[in-house]
């Protein structure tokens, strides 16, 4: 499996309303034109792609950049591997 960052980047790019070159600092709303609905769709797409349980939406509300998304996925995956 490729690293989480590369895969998360690919999902973010595939779902982005306006494609652009991604960096950790790319703003989801202003840089990639994500709106509130598309952000929710992005969380669902990430859950499906990484086969994770529901991402915490309270965390998702504070997510603004591509780097924030990678961190959110990283946290969710490490929580998962920590569960018996």
């Amino acid at each position: 499996m490729k690293d989480v960052k590369t895969e998360a980047y690919a999902v973010i790019a595939a779902m982005a309303p306006e494609p652009a070159v991604l960096t950790d600092d790319t703003d989801l709303r202003t840089g990639l034109h994500y709106d509130s609905v598309r952000l929710i769709e992005l969380t669902i797409a990430l859950e499906r792609h990484f086969e994770m349980a529901a991402l915490n939406l309270d965390d998702a509300v504070t997510v603004t950049s591509v780097g924030d998304v990678v961190a959110l996925v990283d946290r969710a995956l490490s929580n998962r591997s920590g569960t018996p």
Binding site: K2, V11, A14, M15, S36, V37, R38, I44, R48, L57
Partner: protein, 358 residues
């Protein structure tokens, strides 16, 4: 015109706030607009608010004293528009902005010398009530439809308490704020528009609701007119609550109107008692639970807002609603690319990724 007023407007950068500011400036008043981060105000039609006697102050309603330095000028009115109106945010967001924000504005008004306050609430403080809701009713033991409505109900109770303690107050309660009455244009696609997007794209096909449930859609320009009237002719409305509402639209009419658009899906309504979200297909269930369920009350409520006080005070005609107005809103949303756009679905996007990595 009588002498110009100095009006302090919170949430001046918001959808309703910017339109209120525009009207007050147009009538020759001085406006001090409280903004969170904006440096310019944008009208609902996308054009900048310009001309007139406007001063913007950066601040934050969640902070005591609204987080601003002393203004150094005497205020004649305060219009409190600032609020978070999205559904589905955590409770602390509503508490901090809608409830504590209102408490801070009330304290600010009192400290500034009992400055008359126009408080922007929502008609949906009525919560899950059915039937006719009058302007003089507030807490009748109703259950709120969601955390947003709960926070606005509690904020309005704070305002009423302040009024009982001597603060001059007018409350304006808009229903669901939607596009311009004439053009259908809207600056921000939020709230009901989000539901319409889910439905028309066929992402959610079944909804728990009644065909005869009704939505009350009110054009943003009418809401701003009522608030501007209350601000300018405050003494005549002092102590009153004014419903700034439109004409109700039954879900049957919504479906019939959606069906006129060839690219739109039309939802099925299922009796709420027999609806079970767990029986929806996986993806639809996710959409339903995360987005559409927040708006469930819209599909169930059979409520009607009486607006006798507003009509008598403003002398304005309640905006014509119905299918013709909904059609304008939908036409605009399609033209703006919000509805009917062809972004890849989640399965399409993920399938494309799989192909690339093979």
């Amino acid at each position: 015109m009588s002498r110009p007023l100095t009006v302090f407007v919170t949430g001046a950068g918001g959808l309703v706030g910017a339109e209120v500011v525009t009207r007050l400036l147009g009538a020759g008043h001085r406006v001090i607009g409280l903004v969170h981060h904006q440096t310019d105000l944008v009208r609902n039609n996308g054009r900048p608010v310009k001309g007139g006697d406007l001063r913007l102050v950066k601040g934050d309603v969640t902070r005591p004293g609204l987080g601003i330095p002393a203004l150094g000028e005497k205020l004649d009115r305060i219009v409190h528009c600032a609020a978070v109106t999205d559904f589905g945010r955590p409770d602390e967001v509503y508490r901090s902005i809608n409830l504590n924000g209102t408490a801070n504005v009330i304290a600010f008004a009192a400290t500034a010398g009992e400055v008359p306050l126009v408080h922007v609430s929502t008609a949906y403080v009525c919560g899950e009530r059915e039937g006719v809701v009058t302007e003089d009713e507030l807490d009748v033991g109703q259950r709120s439809g969601n955390l947003y409505e709960e926070s606005k109900l509690r904020a309005e109770l704070l305002v009423r308490k302040a009024a009982a303690d001597g603060l001059p107050v007018v409350v304006v309660r808009p229903s669901i704020v939607t596009g311009d009455a004439r053009t259908g244009a809207i600056r921000d696609f939020k709230n009901l528009y989000v539901v319409l997007k889910m439905i028309t794209e066929g992402k959610v096909r079944s909804l728990p609701g009644h065909f005869d449930a009704s939505l009350d859609l009110v054009p943003v320009d009418y809401v701003a007119d009522v608030i501007a009237d209350a601000t300018q002719r405050f003494a005549e409305a002092d102590g009153q609550t004014l419903h700034a509402v439109g004409t109700r639209l039954r879900l049957r009419d919504v479906s019939d109107t959606l069906a006129e658009f060839p690219s739109f899906q039309v939802p099925n309504y299922i009796a709420p008692a027999t609806f079970d979200a767990n029986r929806l297909p996986d993806l639809e269930k996710a959409y339903y639970q995360r987005v559409v369920s927040l708006y469930e009350g819209y599909f169930r409520r059979r409520v009607q807002f009486d607006d006798h006080a507003a009509a008598a005070f403003t002398g304005r005609r309640r905006p014509a609603g119905g299918r013709a107005y909904l059609r304008k809103l939908l036409d605009h949303a399609v033209k703006a690319g919000y509805l009917g756009s062809a972004l890849p679905t989640i399965p399409q996007a993920l399938a494309a990724l799989q192909r690339e990595t093979r």
